[in-house]
Symmetry: C2
Subunit: 255 residues, 2 copies
DNA sequence: CGCGAATTTGAGCCGAATCAAGCGTTGTGG
DNA sequence: CCACAACGCTTGATTCGGCTCAAATTCGCG
């Protein structure tokens, strides 16, 4: 550490938002050149974490917001009885920690499902910057609003939909989100376990497994371990009950 | 209308936040005197609406945020098949419309369950005011964060808890919220129908009715039509599984 | 190759949905 | 003020979807 400063440099890199491939989805979205430069002064890129690593833990004092750059994150809570509830899965461009603003501590844990890189924003600085950059408050409120919409969608799905419908909702939603990120919406690898998906969708792993089989039998999807191929998106959407409610075809997945 | 201007005056009253009894719970909470005065310039009090009246409708273009002053509001969505999903119930001091910020249109409808009065804030003006009043950003983000936490709680309840547990969650949550507003937390009238509560909690009205009976038999509550008396809050909380997760003893009810 | 973890499969059961009355309350009009 | 209609709520009987428990299989990893 004393030999040279490279360790420190690696651990906290100043971020260049202007050249970031996510800039059109991320915080810079509603900002102009000079503002992005200002934003960069409070954004730092932390070293990537490996699978099972945590960005923050439930109960920790809230200090910072985080933005996923690459990878995938599972958000979950553990209650007093040790029961886990998966709240959602976060993808690149998405903001983590909004639900902590109201309470002052992180209400959930954020765990990497793959090697995940992300940016760090100290919240107090972020709040200050909101004063000088109008687009920033616009963006974070939009993100918060979208999270709420997604929560309403999952609330409805668990509340009213059958098992197969919920699974269809999950896949159509995931497909849409991947497409927005520039990936294939019809073929992808699931970064999360069956257990986590089932938990998120309010069902047992066994039940999820049976539903997967059913969707394969009905020729809606192909499944090969973690690899999913959507064969009939239209009928999958119909099964999911493509909600008018949600404009972007239900972004259920980020809970 | 031409005879005098009283009609107009009644329809949009400039609001005095400083004298409002809700100021300690509402937007002025984190503001100082001069700022509240500034806030007042964009807040107007609309005439109260009666039971079944709507503050806004799903699909309408998003223009404004609203704050409940008195009464109670049901938030709900109707999907393409005509199925209703009750998203939550809003009480005085709570902000309506946050989930519309991300999409530009109201994603749900807000219906008065009783005569309800509320304040109106044009969102564009609100955004502008955020630039000059730091506390405003703080407050709305807190509100958004709390809504998210509440959504996570209801997600978990519907996902994992039994019928009786969910009903217990509902009553303990409602009790807590009423207490915060200065009402009795142990005895109150339900402004919403059994149908709406059941829908919100992801169950059938028949099932809710049977669960009510069970809680009465177990001496946890008394029920007389809309009137509820909580007889054993401790055990009701235990049944609800008082989540460590949520600091204010689960504010599930505003979904 | 072998072990442990994750996933699938199977059998049986139970909780909650559904269907169908019946009852009580509220609101309306005579 | 009462009668009747309409609605909301409760109760009962039956059915069924999904859970539970148990075991087999496959996968991932050392």
């Amino acid at each position: 550490m004393t030999k040279n400063s490279s360790n420190f440099k690696i651990s906290v890199l100043q971020t260049n938002c202007r050249n970031c491939s996510l800039s059109s989805l991320c915080l810079p979205k509603d900002l102009v050149g000079a503002e992005i430069k200002e934003l960069e002064t409070i954004v730092s890129q932390l070293p990537p974490i490996n699978k099972h690593g945590h960005i923050f833990n439930q109960g920790d004092k809230f200090t910072s917001l985080y933005v996923i750059r690459s990878g995938c994150v599972k958000k979950y809570q553990i209650d007093a009885d040790g029961n886990e509830q998966v709240i959602g899965f976060s993808m690149p461009g998405e903001l983590l920690g909004i639900d902590a603003i109201g309470t002052g501590k992180y209400m959930s844990s954020a765990e990497a499902l793959d090697t995940t890189s992300f940016c760090h924003l100290q919240y107090s600085k972020f709040e200050d910057l909101c004063q000088s950059i109008p687009g920033l408050i616009k963006h974070i409120l939009k993100m918060a609003g979208q999270e709420l919409v997604a929560e309403h969608d999952i609330h409805k799905a668990i509340s009213q939909k059958s098992i197969d419908e919920r699974v269809a909702v999950f896949f159509t939603s995931l497909s849409t989100r991947l497409k927005i990120l520039g990936y294939s919406g019809s073929e992808f690898n699931l970064p999360m376990s069956r257990h986590d998906i089932a938990n998120f969708l309010g069902m047992q792993p066994e039940t999820f497994s049976r539903s997967l089989k059913k969707l394969v039998t009905d020729d809606l999807i192909d499944v090969n371990l973690k690899h999913i191929k959507i064969k009939d998106l239209d009928n999958l959407r119909t099964l999911a009950g493509h909600c008018d409610t949600c404009p972007s075809s239900s972004k259920v997945m980020n809970g």
